[in-house]
Symmetry: C2
Subunit: 298 residues, 2 copies
């Protein structure tokens, strides 16, 4: 019998909390600043009550499932990584039970590890990937540390992380390029992006292409407003090239993103000649946590 | 008739000043903090006197030649870039004359520009490349913004910049990897370097390989002390791969570096199967500025 669900994507700096009805409808949602790094030792039951206590008052019968860094060494309880290839059932089965102050059980989901090539880990993204309901395909989850994953026969076969968002921030805010960069105006976003895609296709690589933004601006050939879009396009295109080298030529990519990030990746995938389908992260999370919760109950 | 020479490699944050005898012997040298960014408008004659006045008292007959950012828009005078391909004679001929307070002439050397592929510029490195006295070959000048240049028939044919040193600093000091990185001890330098070279050879690219340092350390598979050497090896290997893609497979590379930078690049070139010859930057600068000064006199 389906139950309502209180589900948190509880990361290092933030928690996204959802109250989900029996039929999958999101009845309520909250984004809270209480990331796990702000929770003192032993403080997780109280932090949970602060974030989602209201959901419990509304639906005291709800099952409670937590995903993300809350299952890491620095979280509520360490839920050890499940090694790839990982089925939805295996991920659900590796959930760890903890209890609220009144004894109500809470399941903390594990992350995944992949030892194929470079050792890699994820926490939280596995739930979104499960939510895509893929049998076979490639998922791309852009972010500070983007993840690409291959699903085969319904299992997460392998995945890889890319430091794209973080390197963008470092170059845009802290490198020699930061002084030249301005807020994009007029055609800057389009101009910077098309230059960035072209630069990514040149053979000299990222370290050369990033520097080229400086010389182009100093020479008056590119506007300062195009620097950010240039760097973003260059880095995203490099990420996509790396993912293709790892996963081969996918027929279609499941892009899990919204807002500006979805636009950037959609443009870069299109420039790379790849077709894709966009799913909003919230929708993927809700679907994934419901699938995993069903696995827990079964 | 050869004259003694006072030569400065005058950059943004520092000046390296040399008193060079008629036969090329370095009679005296000084490194000064008076980079061009610390010199107020109109203050260059006084700054020169503070840096190299003593050399003038010793050899008042010396010719004076300045290389580097001192010839940029923010320097003493703007010496416009010479476009590649550039001969030693063309570089010398593009020097701009300024005068000390007593009227003594000073030559400010130009930089080079290259519009082959990404637009690129250099100021100062051209003097070191001239100093190598190559007829045909590839020069590698590592640094914050490394330069690679191809010399054909004695001319600097084309060149490219790589943001290697700066990106290393950003990742090592300001990224998520900074918290995990420790000072190398024991075998960390060798271990990190060999892992970095291996990671650079994997197809997923820099953004993936940089992140792998984090997961390897968190998994207890790599020591924190190996993070810096890993990143250095990864980035230098990427730079070398980019340069090879641009310049083809060189027979021998002229590596202009000393100290730890020479060691890092020597290891990376060796790992890439490339042979090289090392020239110290000071020796290359002295030889280059003497060649260019001879061109000025001729």
């Amino acid at each position: 019998m389906p139950r309502p669900l209180i589900a948190l994507d509880w990361g290092t700096t933030r928690a996204r909390a959802f109250l989900i009805g029996e039929d999958g409808t999101v009845l309520d949602r909250r984004i809270a600043d209480q990331g796990i790094q702000s929770v003192p030792a032993g403080g997780f039951p109280a932090a949970f009550a602060a974030i989602a206590g209201e959901f419990r008052r509304v639906r005291p019968d709800a099952a409670i499932v937590l995903a993300g860094m809350v299952g890491s060494r620095n979280g509520w309880v360490e839920a050890p990584y499940v090694a790839c290839p990982a089925s939805t059932e295996a991920i659900a089965a590796a959930g760890i039970a903890v209890a609220l102050e009144d004894g109500t059980p809470v399941t903390v989901l594990p992350g995944l590890s992949d030892d194929d090539g470079a050792f890699d880990v994820m926490r939280g993204e596995e739930t979104l990937i499960v939510g895509l309901g893929l049998q076979d395909g490639i998922a791309c989850l852009p972010g500070t540390h983007s993840k690409w994953a291959e699903v085969r026969a319904g299992r997460i076969e392998r995945f890889a992380s890319f430091m794209t968002g973080e390197v963008y921030g470092l170059l845009r805010q802290h490198s020699i390029l930061a002084r030249l960069a301005e807020e994009p105006a007029g055609g800057d976003a389009v101009d910077g992006a098309s230059r960035g895609f072209a630069a990514a296709a040149r053979p000299a690589g990222l370290l050369n292409a990033a520097f080229a933004a400086r010389t182009e601006v100093l020479a008056g050939r590119m506007r300062g407003g195009a620097v950010g879009p240039y760097l973003s396009a260059l880095l995203v295109a490099q990420e996509i090239a790396g993912a293709r080298a790892l996963f081969g030529q996918p027929k279609e990519i499941e892009l899990v993103a919204d807002g500006a990030l979805a636009e950037s990746y959609a443009a870069a995938l299109t420039a790379a000649g790849l077709s894709f389908r966009i799913t909003a992260p919230e929708a993927a999370f809700i679907a994934g946590v419901r699938r995993l919760a069903a696995g827990l109950v079964a």
